[in-house]
């Protein structure tokens, strides 16, 4: 461990085995952080604590909260925010941005194919069993042409930097990825607290997300509609991401609705308003497939709109993301991403995939069972970081339990080598100092008809618990503002 000479970093402990985002191997500050490091160094740790409290207050005042589902109770929390931003230089960003677009486009082509000609399955590149056994593949979508040919309008790509300094994608979230509102609110909070510092850098804006989302959603309007009426549908105020749903509706300038605010008549969708029914053309839905229409999917869903799927099938309304998109967000499909990118785009993958062992394959299952302590074992169909076992953190008994679970239900699990997420100085309340914490990055990509957009920023999530590798917000993670510098 080495200490760094700078007032607020005087007690910063650098573990040379980890990839530090701001200090190089020799302990020197990297160029892109130099100015920031100097500016922060002019302050005492007490100044910093005050500023940090001010930023936190701004979150409370804006009501930016989320819910954590516990075993016995559900709690409303603010998303812990760290004032020390993460900076990404333009060259690195170009790789991330192009890589995110590449993956989104490849996934879109994959989705079109598996709901139409199924060429990639017929050629055996992706095994048919993977699709057959996926609960997220919707037979009702076979042969359906989504407006504009787009399935995954909004993708959230989770990217990490490994200790080899390379970026790797961990997951493509294309059901209802959340987090973008925090990106924008983090920026607001940081600008309020540290306006002077922010002005020393030429940073891309993130506040243009909503206008781009609206514009791209309008490009996938149903046929025959001139200026589409767009709405955001939410499961309601008890959903963990309700703040984001209301934020996006507000900033796009469109209505935020719940299922009961809409109805379907003669296969068109209408919103109940005080001026009478108003036709709805594009729905940015933050409700999972199973709940969107109780007449077609789960009959016990009180969140959806009866008849919505028929309206969709007739081409009278656009749903973003399209129903059935979740099949490509399966962790088992993830492992075929390099093949999927080559197959549809005839390109080499720009971003790396983490090597994955499929427990459904007998030889790989054998390797996994024998090497649990060296691997991260994940269920293929759980979101939010639940059910993940990190091999080197398990006790002997826990390892046995994992072995048993995997052997009993091999299709349910994949395993990956333990990746070493890069670390970033993060202010820790308890020790009142900066410490290294693991981070990742979620980028937000929007696909429209012949257009795409990647938010130049993204959500840098921080694992606040010392040594914790799971950065998910529902698992006690925090976040940082992410600066993408202009060239």
């Amino acid at each position: 461990m080495e200490n760094i000479e700078n007032q607020i970093f005087s007690s910063y402990q650098r573990n040379p085995l980890l990839f530090d985002e701001i200090f190089d191997q020799g302990g020197e500050v990297k160029d892109v952080y130099a100015k920031l490091f100097k500016l922060y160094g002019e302050h005492s740790i007490n100044d910093y604590v005050k500023l940090n409290d001010k930023a936190k207050a701004s979150f409370f005042n804006q009501g930016i909260t989320f819910q954590v589902y516990g075993e016995n109770e559900t709690k409303e929390k603010i998303f812990p925010f760290d004032l020390f931003p993460r900076i990404i230089d333009p060259q690195e960003w170009k790789v991330i941005e192009n890589g995110s677009i590449q993956r989104s486009k490849a996934l879109n082509s994959f989705l079109w194919d598996i709901y139409h000609d199924k060429k990639i399955l017929k050629q055996g590149i992706v095994p048919i069993d993977l699709i057959n056994s996926s609960v997220n593949y919707l037979d009702q979508m076979i042969g359906v042409d989504p407006p504009g040919g787009i399935y995954n309008h909004i993708s959230g790509t989770d990217i990490i930097k490994h200790n080899d300094g390379q970026y790797y994608v961990l997951e493509d979230n294309i059901r209802c990825p959340s987090g973008v509102s925090y990106v924008i609110c983090n920026r607001t909070a940081l600008k309020r607290a540290l306006f002077g510092v922010f002005n020393h850098y030429q940073t891309h804006t993130v506040t243009n997300y909503a206008e781009n989302l609206l514009e791209l959603l309008e490009t996938v309007k149903p046929k025959g509609v001139d200026s589409p009426n767009v709405v955001v549908i939410t499961p309601g105020m008890y959903n963990s991401a309700f703040y984001e749903h209301s934020y996006l509706a507000k900033t796009m300038g469109v209505e935020l609705v719940e299922g009961r605010d809409l109805f379907v008549e003669n296969d068109f969708v209408y919103m109940k308003t005080i001026r009478g029914p108003e036709k709805v053309d594009v729905i940015y839905r933050r409700i999972d497939d199973a709940f969107i229409d109780p007449l077609e999917f789960r009959a016990d869903s009180a969140l959806g709109v009866p008849g919505l799927f028929s309206a969709y099938k007739k081409g009278n309304v656009t749903l973003a993301n399209a129903p059935g998109t979740g099949v490509a967000d399966d962790k088992a499909v993830y492992t075929y991403m390099p093949e999927i990118i080559k197959y549809y785009l005839d390109e080499e993958p720009i971003l790396n995939n983490v090597h994955t062992y499929h427990c459904s394959r007998p030889d790989e299952l054998k390797y996994v069972v024998e090497n649990v302590e060296k691997l991260v074992i994940k269920p293929v169909d759980e979101a939010g970081g639940y059910g993940i076992s990190i091999g080197n953190r398990l006790t002997r008994d826990e390892i046995e339990t994992v072995r048993k679970q995997v052997k009993e239900n091999p299709r349910k699990y994949v395993a990956q080598p333990i990746m070493s997420l890069s670390v970033h100085p993060t202010y820790i309340d308890d020790s009142e100092s900066f410490e290294q914490r693991h981070i990742d990055l979620r980028t937000f990509t929007i696909l429209g008809k012949d257009r795409e957009f990647v938010l130049k920023g993204g959500l840098t999530r921080v694992a606040l618990k010392k040594g914790n590798l799971v950065v998910n917000s529902s698992q006690g993670g925090g976040s940082k503002d992410t600066w993408v510098l202009k060239e």
Binding site: K118, G124, N132, D139, E265, D267, L295, P306, G307, K313
Partner: protein
């Protein structure tokens, strides 16, 4: 030659308390296909709510009702007049080359094209210890094997009502070895699929004039896909091929894709539901 049928479907729902909002979706209109032609469709409900014609997720015609006023009871009556061509179910070229046919169904392309009707669903899942319950003898043609399976299924279960219900899985059915047309059909579909034959669940009406098993509800049977021949209907409840007494409404992977009536009713308290189906041949 064509037969003329008149079908009456009735449903009656009564509720303990006022219902302020409700949706119903009926999947009861006979399908138009090469052996079925329409003469008339008449659908009414007791509170004069508007009928909306639509399609479900699998493209079959539905009627949806969304009453605009509160009610405590509602009844529906549908009358269909239909012309059914009397097609001989054995009217196809018998398979010559058995080996080639089995090769076809094993090929990846075939399995991908027919994936939807080869899949196991919760209703067509055979318990893991019974996966070899019925294995095709490849010395016979696919059609012959399916005929044998049809007979085997009809003999393996005893037709008995009120033993199983609409939620019964094959695990339960195979233990009791009793059930109704839905259970016979799920078992036939499951075993045919395990032998690599795409098989779909059919919901429809059965003209019972000839003493067939069924009941005063909708009937269920199966269609299996045979290479070079196409979809052939098997009624394992009655150990016959589907014929001019079988009037098809819809198909799907299992009962769940074909349920005749789906309702979303916003009300509290208890309710009562009654259905009946009557199929008459006007030629008799």
């Amino acid at each position: 030659m064509s037969l003329e049928y008149s079908i009456t479907y009735k449903a009656e729902n009564t509720y303990e308390n006022w219902v302020h909002d409700a949706y119903w979706q009926f999947l009861i209109i006979p399908q138009l296909n090469r052996s079925q032609e329409f003469v008339e469709v008449d659908f009414r409900n007791s509170i004069n709510a508007i009928n909306e014609h639509s399609i479900n997720g699998y493209g079959f015609q539905t009627i949806r009702i969304h009453p605009k006023k509160k009610f405590k009871s509602i009844s529906f009556i549908a009358r269909f007049k239909l012309l059914k061509k009397d097609i001989n179910p054995f009217d196809f070229e018998p398979e010559q080359d058995h080996e080639a046919a089995y090769k076809t169904i094993e090929a990846l392309e075939f399995r991908v094209n027919h994936a939807i009707f080869l899949k196991t669903t919760p209703f067509t899942a055979v318990p893991s210890k019974k996966l070899n319950l019925y294995t095709f003898n490849k010395e016979y043609s696919i059609f012959e094997n399916l005929q044998h399976l049809n007979r085997w299924t009809s003999e393996h279960l005893l037709f008995k009502t009120d033993v199983t219900d609409v939620y019964s899985t094959l695990d339960e059915v195979l233990q009791k070895r009793q059930g109704v047309c839905q259970d016979f059909t799920h078992l036939f579909c499951a075993l045919a699929r395990l032998n690599g034959i795409p098989t779909r669940y059919i919901s429809g009406y059965l003209h019972q004039g000839n003493g067939y098993f069924g009941d005063s509800q909708m009937h269920a049977w199966a269609e299996a896909y045979i290479p070079k021949i196409g979809w052939v209907g098997f009624d394992p409840t009655n150990n016959i091929l589907a014929n001019s007494n079988h009037i098809k409404v819809a198909h799907g992977k299992d009962f769940k894709d074909c349920s005749a009536l789906k309702g979303i009713v916003y009300s509290i308290g208890t309710n009562k539901t009654r259905h009946s189906v009557e199929v008459q041949s006007t030629d008799q």
